[in-house]
């Protein structure tokens, strides 16, 4: 059958498809479309770097320009994944350096990238434009110097919250004078002072700069020098927001901020001296995103600032905002979509602030567009969760962390099953959920029954038996990522839902009751799953097979087992 459209036309049509899902669907239509599509796919997203390998990727998609890779499991953020587990990007860089000379973008999350990798990137990709390293580690500022020096057309350098070994700030001076292409620079995670002169000059010769996030070491009184040179900034992250209280500093800063007419997003704010907060007032009404989660300032200064941000869509803040501040937020910021409240003193025995379930209820009530919540608090009730669920059926992400594990409803002293049940029942579009507090198997029954769109679930110190896990695995049709710690879930639930695991990206279980024997059985029977036992107590066969493993990470893969595991990771020997 002859096609009425030549390949080029189909290719052109496909070029309008940016979503991976759409492209994957297109490639399944017929062999011909598969072939055309694979030659023109430019962007790849790999949610688990071990689910596939570079060779397979390059073989199928020969003309990639942009790659996004994710490595370690999410719980690595909380030190649950021991050092050296894996997620090394070098093999990918090496393979791409040979096969993708035109590569422009590399975006990594929770991966280990060495200076060697950075140098290879700098050398291999002549048209390299975008480097985003989100929560990565393994590199030093020397690697950054290589990128700065060699990537002539660099547009974006974003170090996210990476752990960089900061040898010195000199790396920034390696950007040649001819580099004028920067659009986005985020060095907030760096500790060392960079040469301010070099930074100022770099900013001055970057007419396209829209995002600038500097590090803590840049003092407040220097900010006007930067802002004046780059008044078209859309996103700005300050350094340490403190200085002697001087009226000239204050007026310079206020004037500099006033000059930034495009500014929509502010962050930084370490070491806040409240006297300088009013310098931001001129831009408050334009702000859509405000990250004050490092700002250790309290009410009334904090509340006064936030209540001027009438167009705020995203707020990240410490619990110094307290219930009172959240009520003000609810009254003033009707466009709010995302709220994250972090704890200022999570390890204290007693609460240091008055932040309770009331604050969250108030925001859920007053902000009709609220759809994404991360909330750390010390007390909760089913009643409050009912109210939140009723108020916000449009909730998409709901992550509640009650600081003390297994905390009950403080009014009824019972579990919070019904409250979370109300959340999953009412919020039919819920995609992400994190549970906390006292919870029995019942909450998992609710989740399995109602949370049909749920893609990611995080569970800690919850449940009574295997039934809990079974409800989730058998009920949550859209589940992609499941992470569990310190729950009494065992072999039965896992093995009887083995097939489900192939439909998911990954499952993490630590301090649960999965035996080594069950891990082996699963690994044996499910060849397309990688079953990793992470146990720092030594070889599993020195313990009875029924002994629970410390940690377990299971993920589907077409690449087979990996060969870069450290000593404490146990995987099935190749048959």
């Amino acid at each position: 059958m002859a096609y009425s459209f030549p390949e080029e036309v189909l290719e052109h049509v496909f070029s309008f498809l940016s979503s991976d899902k759409d492209r994957n669907a297109v490639s399944l239509v017929c062999k011909s479309w598969y072939e055309i599509e694979r030659w023109c796919r430019r962007k790849i997203f790999i949610g688990n770097c071990y689910a596939v390998n570079p060779r397979i990727m390059i073989r199928r998609f020969p003309e990639v320009r942009s790659i996004e890779l994710k490595g370690k499991p999410h719980f690595a953020d909380f030190n649950l994944v021991p050092e050296g587990w894996g997620a090394y990007v070098y093999p990918w860089i090496l393979a791409m350096s040979k096969s993708y000379p035109l590569l422009e973008e590399i975006k990594l999350k929770r991966m280990v990238i060495t200076d060697e990798s950075l140098e290879l990137i700098a050398k291999s990709f002549k048209n390299f434009k975008v480097l985003v390293l989100s929560s990565c580690d393994g590199f030093t500022t020397d690697g950054l110097a290589a990128i700065a020096a060699n990537c002539r057309n660099l547009r974006e350098l974003d170090l996210g919250e990476s752990e960089v070994e900061d040898l010195s700030g000199h790396w920034l001076s390696h950007f040649p004078d001819s580099c004028t292409s920067l659009v986005s620079l985020n060095i907030a995670c760096l500790v060392s002072e960079v040469s301010f002169l070099a930074l100022e000059r770099l900013v001055a010769r970057s007419p396209n700069l829209r995002t600038l996030r500097i590090n803590r070491a840049v003092p407040l009184e220097k900010l006007p020098y930067l802002l004046r040179r780059t008044s078209q900034l859309v996103e700005f992250g300050t350094g340490a927001y403190s200085a002697d209280v001087r009226s000239d500093y204050f007026s310079n800063l206020t004037e500099a901020f006033s000059g930034c007419k495009q500014l929509k997003c502010l962050s930084g704010f370490w070491d806040v001296v409240p006297a300088y907060l009013p310098a931001i007032y001129p831009v408050c009404s334009r702000l859509t995103s405000l990250n004050l989660s490092y700002a250790t300032c309290q009410n009334p200064e904090l509340g006064k600032l936030i209540s001027q941000c009438h167009n705020l869509q995203r707020l990240w803040v410490l619990d110094y905002i307290e219930d009172f501040g959240l009520e003000e937020l609810a009254a003033n910021c009707k466009d709010l979509q995302e709220l994250r409240v972090f704890p200022s003193d999570p390890f204290a025995a007693e609460p240091n602030v008055t932040l309770t379930e009331q604050g969250l209820v108030a925001v859920s009530d007053g902000c009709p567009k609220l759809q994404s919540v991360l909330y750390f608090c010390r007390q909760m009730t089913n009643a409050a969760l009912f109210t939140i669920a009723r108020n916000r059926p449009n909730m998409i992400r709901f992550r509640l962390c009650i600081i003390e594990p297994r905390t009950p409803d403080y009014l009824t002293l019972g579990p919070l099953d019904a409250g979370f049940g109300a959340i999953v029942e009412n919020c039919k579009e819920l995609r992400r959920l994190s549970l906390s507090g006292l919870l029995t198997d019942r909450v998992f029954e609710y989740i399995g029954t109602h949370a049909k769109k749920l893609e990611m679930l995080s569970i800690a110190f919850a449940g009574d038996s295997d039934l809990g896990l079974h409800h989730v695995l058998s009920g949550c049709e859209s589940l992609r990522k499941l992470e569990i710690r310190d729950c009494p879930f065992g072999d039965k639930a896992l093995l009887s839902n083995a097939a489900k695991l192939e439909t998911m990206r990954s499952l993490w279980m630590s301090s649960c009751s999965i035996s080594f024997e069950a891990c082996k059985m699963l690994a044996q029977k499910m060849p397309r799953l990688n079953v990793e036992v992470i146990d720092e107590r030594g070889p599993p066969d020195t313990r009875p097979e029924s002994c629970p493993v410390e940690k377990l990470y299971i993920y589907r893969s077409v690449a087979g087992r990996r060969f870069d595991t450290p000593g404490y990771v146990w995987v099935k020997k190749q048959l």
Binding site: E163, D244, D345, I403, D491, G567, L575
Partner: protein, 238 residues
Amino acid sequence: MELELGLALPNSHFVDPINSSNTTILNGNMINIDRFDDNFSQMKMKDDYSMASDGSNQVPIKTLPLLICNGQPNEDEDDDDGHQKRRTFEACYQEIKEENGVVGWPPIKSWRKKLLLNHEGGGGWNTNNIDHRNNIGIRNSMYVKVKMEGVAIGRKIDLRLYNSYQLLTNTLLQMFPRYENCNENDGSFTLLYQDKEGDWMLAGDVPWETFMETVQRIQILRNWKSGSRSTRKSSHIS
């Protein structure tokens, strides 16, 4: 609860009722195996698919893999001694901090935790922050009363938010807005604090850490231009 070994999704195949010849024992419990290899129950699990490890087993030290993939050695920081040391130290620090709590709980990113622990200019692994008094990793909040002379209503501040006299003074000045112009005039205020013994001391003489350990409350005194405080050393912190 009698469960099937779920090799396929629940709705994708017909499930046999319990058939004793298809059962096996796992951890002392009966598991019904449906659509399974005939010789599964005879398989010696230990030998056929023993778990392999690629390196030494005692400590989480990286070693070369038994099988090389793409000819790439493991990404390892061993080549740079300093780097390796720093990582070990980091790991130790994490353990010190969390030994009295649960690892990784509450779920706060390391980056953020560091900031909560260490308000100084970052990077300093200051193990002095460990507060054994409270048996937890970091200090509790430290609220002290602040009274300005001539102002009826005092304030309370959390001293844990500050890491230097400078920061404290700047904030205090802002707290009492009527006196915002204080620092325009040299030495126009004096900062005093009451220590554990009940004595009133001049702020700024002892190191910040010592001050933090002993301060009970703070008072701000105005120095009138008439010089009535000439007997005191003015605390010109600017």
